[in-house]
């Protein structure tokens, strides 16, 4: 009898989509609510194993874009391909199975405040009626990954802001997603806690290589993600040699709903776009 699937351990191979087609592809996507467009003709893609950092100040449509990726919002125009399927007009019922393949970390964690940490992290497993002992083991594995095993029986109200984000990361990772979405995971946190969260994201990226899209307005977080890697032998994040950056981590930048930059860190710092220069200053 084979053992039931569990949270992958560092060093364990992780399954990727076999072909090189993008995991997410936006083509000419536009969306407006009441007023000017929130997103205007946005096109980009996320390749397998790639980490894309979406930069921009508050209110430029970053979180809206993130919600379009897994169909929580619908575009007014354009095409959104997720795992090779067009989701712009897909009925909600058909989106639910697709969403189970994605892990999403919300801006404030969005933990269910009436459930314990265990039940929050295990939410999908409980819906799938996985046996209790297996749930407990997988939740402990996921909490160990974010170094919060001791919070197993606590309620979200008794956790700090940083701990909630880490629990949200554990919830996003428990089913070994094929795509990760981080919506401002360090927003409103102190620098030390922000670094802890970024270290977890780097660890996830370098150990499991899950493609991801990360929204942030903090350039310092983006630079740490690009300039560091997770050293499994030391069990911590370490800086890359001077001048080197993670090749799989690239940048997007939004200004007033328009995508004004798509490229590497090197190209970002060399950009002559006045908005980019002002943002980096």
């Amino acid at each position: 009898m084979t053992a039931p699937p569990t949270f992958p351990q560092p060093g364990q191979d992780h399954a990727f989509p076999s072909d090189e087609e993008p995991v997410v592809a936006f083509r000419n996507v536009s969306l407006a609510f009441d007023g000017p467009p929130v997103l205007d003709d946005v096109s980009f893609s996320v390749a397998p194993g790639e980490t894309r950092i979406l930069l921009g100040p508050a209110g430029v449509g970053k979180s809206v874009l993130m919600k379009l990726v897994n169909g929580l919002l619908r575009p007014d125009a354009g095409s959104i391909q997720l795992f090779g399927q067009e989701i712009a007009d897909m009925p909600e019922e058909q989106l639910f199975p697709l969403r189970t393949r994605i892990g999403m970390v919300f801006q404030e964690g969005a933990l269910f405040d009436s459930l314990t940490v265990r039940d929050n992290v295990a939410y999908q497993l409980i819906q799938e009626q996985v046996p209790d002992d297996e749930i407990d083991r997988r939740v402990r594995d996921a909490l160990r990954f974010v170094e919060l095993e001791e919070t197993f029986d606590l309620f979200p109200a008794s956790l700090s802001g940083g701990m909630r984000r880490r629990v949200a990361i554990a919830r996003a990772l428990i089913r070994q997603p094929e795509l990760l979405l981080y919506d401002s995971p360090t927003g409103g946190l102190d620098p030390l806690t922000s670094t802890t969260i970024i270290e977890l994201i780097v660890k996830e990226r370098d150990v499991y290589h899950t493609p991801s899209l990360l929204v942030t307005h903090r350039i310092q977080d983006a630079l740490i993600l690009c300039n560091h890697h997770f050293d499994q032998s030391q069990g911590r994040m370490v800086p890359l040699p001077k001048g080197q950056t993670d090749p799989g981590t690239t940048f997007l930048m939004l200004e007033e709903g328009r995508l004004i930059f798509d490229g590497s860190l090197h190209e970002l710092v060399k950009s002559q776009n006045p908005f980019v220069r002002e943002f980096l200053a």
Partner: protein, 280 residues
């Protein structure tokens, strides 16, 4: 020398501007009303169709049945007893002038079972539970918990809305029966202990003049009222926007509209049921 006149600053210009603003406000209000009715119709049709399609979340249904049914029992018992008592007091005072105080039991039981039991229970339970549903779901919306649920592949309509509506329908039926019984008991206590009339006569009159159509009328109404309070409470909760202030607004709208619609639908149902079961 004549200076150019700014027409918008003249009394006539101000009147025109005020008129245009008033028309725009009425137009916006009418559009919002139509949009809300359309959204509610779609929402309630989806929630209703989910009642018959798996997966059905039985644990959530039972939990809501406990919150709505057991949680509202005390207020339903107290309001039922008081209403029956008031009916007995008022009717005895009026009927005594005709020398017909003996029919107090018939008056109280028919009024409670056909009308006041269902409506009063509907309004009381709506005040307690439609508000609670709107504020609970509204808080989940503004803290992105509903989005998180959708992102985790779970349909909040099935998981949160449908069990609440099903529990409201089921429990309002039983709470109405409790309110009817308490109302008749309250009327009986007032008749015996305050009006000093015969209790056996009160109960005989209350029982003998009841017909099946009266009971049917009293049991059909809570099914509709339960659906109204559950669906409106959830509807306003799920469309909450604007942070904690928005939660407050949703709660108020849920209580006001569910109560008003229950009373309006009661009028329509009474007309329909009286047509189907004409009084003898």
């Amino acid at each position: 020398m004549r200076y150019p006149v700014d027409e918008s600053a003249t009394p006539l210009g101000l009147l025109r501007t005020a008129n245009a603003m008033a028309i725009r406000m009425i137009e916006n209000y009418a559009k919002n009303l139509v949009l809300t009715v359309q959204d509610y119709s779609l929402f309630s049709a989806r929630a209703f169709s989910n009642l018959y399609r798996p997966p059905i979340y039985w644990p959530e249904f039972l939990m809501q049945a406990d919150i709505i049914g057991v949680g509202s029992l005390l207020i339903v018992i107290l309001s039922g007893l008081s209403t029956g008592g008031v009916l007995a007091l008022q009717s005895a005072a009026t009927l005594s002038s005709f020398g017909a105080t003996a029919v107090t039991g018939q008056f109280v039981s028919l009024t409670m079972i056909r009308e006041l039991g269902p409506v009063l229970t509907g309004v009381m339970v709506s005040g307690r539970n439609a508000s609670s549903m709107a504020s609970e779901l509204g808080s989940m919306v503004v803290t992105e918990q509903i989005d998180a649920m959708r992102a985790l592949g779970v349909d909040p309509m099935r998981k949160l809305v449908t069990p609440r509506i099903a529990a409201s329908i089921t429990m309002l039926l039983f709470l109405t029966i409790v309110a009817d019984a308490c109302g008749i008991a309250g009327g009986g206590m007032v008749t015996v202990f305050m009006n000093h009339q015969n209790g056996t006569q009160y109960l005989n009159m209350a029982w003998e003049h009841l017909r099946y159509p009266d009971i049917i009328q009293g049991l059909v109404k809570p099914l509709f009222f339960g659906y109204i309070l559950g669906s409106i409470g959830c509807f306003y909760g799920m469309r909450t926007s604007g942070g904690t202030q928005g939660v407050g607004r949703s709660t108020i709208s849920a209580v006001v509209w569910s109560s008003v619609i229950i009373i309006f639908v009661d009028f329509l149902l009474t007309q329909l049921l009286l047509t189907l079961f004409p009084p003898l």
